[in-house]
Amino acid sequence: MADKTVYLDNAAATRMDERVLEVMQPFFFDTYAVATSEFGYSLGIEAREALDEARTTLAKALGASPEEFIFTSGSTESSNMAIKGVALALGEKKGKHIIVSRIEDFPVLHSAQALEKQGFRVTLLEVDGDGLVNLDNLRDAITNETILVSIQHANQEIGTIQDIEAIGKLCLEKGVIFHTDATHAFTRVGLDVSKVPVDLVTVAAHTIHGPKGVGGLYIRKGTPLAKWMDGGFQESNLRAGLENIPGAFGFARAVEIITPEETKRLKAIRDHIIERALTEIPNSTLNGHRSQRLPQNANITFHFVEGESITLHLDMRGFAVSTGSACFSRSLEGSHVIYGIGGDHERAHGSIRFSLGRYNTMDDADAVVDALAEIVSELRSISPLGKENN
């Protein structure tokens, strides 16, 4: 058993930073009151001010005004809210056509599919071999009935970063609302909504060493969005429910801690993993775009071996990674992202995602590639595939 885990699954969840916990604590024990209006009692007013402060930090990080940002329970809720909210607001008035890319994460994909059952038409936009959306295809897909385009900022599995600015401009020109799921790109890849025409942006704290269960949605002023979480009048009367003030405050702190230097450091570790793995382990293929790629993501298929076997061997040596193999998934289906970029079962079967975070080092990169070289070679020795006489 390894004495220390080298955690390389930061796209799924991150270790929270102690500095985040520090600022959250007072909101559990001291300022625990509900955020009241300015006519409430002192403790509630203090809570309200803290929430406003957190909102201002988040909005600023996106180049937005505070009233354009609402807190949610995470990226799943944010994307559900954006897609179903627009559908509810415009479905009867304008049209029932929605466009999403084929490689979106499940909150977007399954929200769109849920609407399909309610009579909406959904176009799953194809991507190229690197995972990029083609602008001409998008232009062709937009009709008079189209009310929403939802294309992620960066992919959760293969890290490919879309040209959000060009997509946004096209949507603006066509008069279609544009939502982007920035769960994995937020703070690691720049996005300034005062320059990029995007109407709705999903963000979350769990990917950036903040608390789980907090996310947010940027809503450009004037964007039609129906409320579907009914209850009180919280979050500009768009999202009912008691505000998660410790979470919101922790989220804001997590954003403040991220620096361009840190992101640069992760990018160097990423490149080291990719370069060493591709050169030292034969029959390996990079999934996703080589340069238009999240600084914290590497995704490589090791042919002729299966991903769950690799992850299990890595786990025994103290490494945590994830795979797009069907054997690893809850639905027993291989990664829809790998299929989306034209990969077959085989490519999904042996795909491993490394996602980096604050606590990873260059030594981790070397250690995981060393371990992989041994594991892959061992598993290949028992595989019926990839042998010369086959």
């Binding site: 025994m316 079962h345 028992i382």
Partner: protein
């Protein structure tokens, strides 16, 4: 450390027995499941006089349960007569491993089928197989018994998930009693295809879900 499998499975996964190829085997097979992507090859040497399996080896392109089942099945089959070895079931292999999670049934059943197919391959080569039977509803039902419901690990028939089977003019029509949006619908569909598409007198397999 919390591992997803028991110690016996992990032991066979880490140190699989009888791995590799047999040069000039008496029987061999490759079974692959498109539903899970795993593949297993089984090679046997047969003592012609006693019809016993004198040697057996396997190769796996699969997950831990696939590798572990391949390993245990070779241990169970070695020294058995062909008739005995044919009767080894997934349940027996799983029991010998101290139990496998039901969701892993269809990755691990491949090794069991691989062994049967390798024996069949030997029998075909030695003229021990009777004439080909035409596909009937009963044949389809037999095959569907082997398609596992990932939730329970039971065959589709036993799990009462097969609503109807029609065989007509080279076409099989199967209706599965699950909604098409079900978590495992796509995996089950692929596995049914895998089991039925190879029937010698069948041109088309149509699979529908109830809604």
């Amino acid at each position: 450390m919390r591992l997803p499998y028991n110690e016996t499975v992990m032991e066979h996964f880490r140190h699989p027995r009888n791995v590799g190829k047999i040069e000039n085997p008496d029987g061999k097979s490759t079974e692959g499941s498109p539903a899970c992507g795993d593949m297993v090859s089984v090679y046997i040497s047969v003592d012609d006089a006693t019809k016993t399996i004198s040697d057996v080896k396997f190769e796996s392109y699969g997950c831990a349960s696939n590798i572990a089942t391949g390993s245990i099945i070779t241990e169970l089959a070695k020294g058995k007569t062909l008739d005995e070895a044919k009767k080894i079931t997934w349940k027996q292999a799983s029991d010998a491993l101290g139990g496998l999670p039901p969701i892993k049934a269809h990755c691990s059943v491949l090794a069991v089928e691989g062994l049967r197919t390798a024996i069949q391959n030997y029998e075909e080569k030695h003229g021990l197989i009777k004439e080909r039977k035409p596909t009937t509803q009963e044949v389809v039902q037999q095959r569907l018994r082997k398609v596992m419901d990932p939730l329970t690990g039971m065959g589709l028939v036993r799990a009462k998930l097969v609503q109807s089977i029609d065989v007509k003019d080279g076409t099989i029509h199967v209706v599965v009693d699950l909604p098409s949006g079900h978590q495992f619908a796509s995996a089950i569909k692929q596995e049914i295809h895998e089991k039925l598409d190879t029937l010698w007198d069948i041109k088309e397999v149509v699979i529908d879900f109830v809604e």
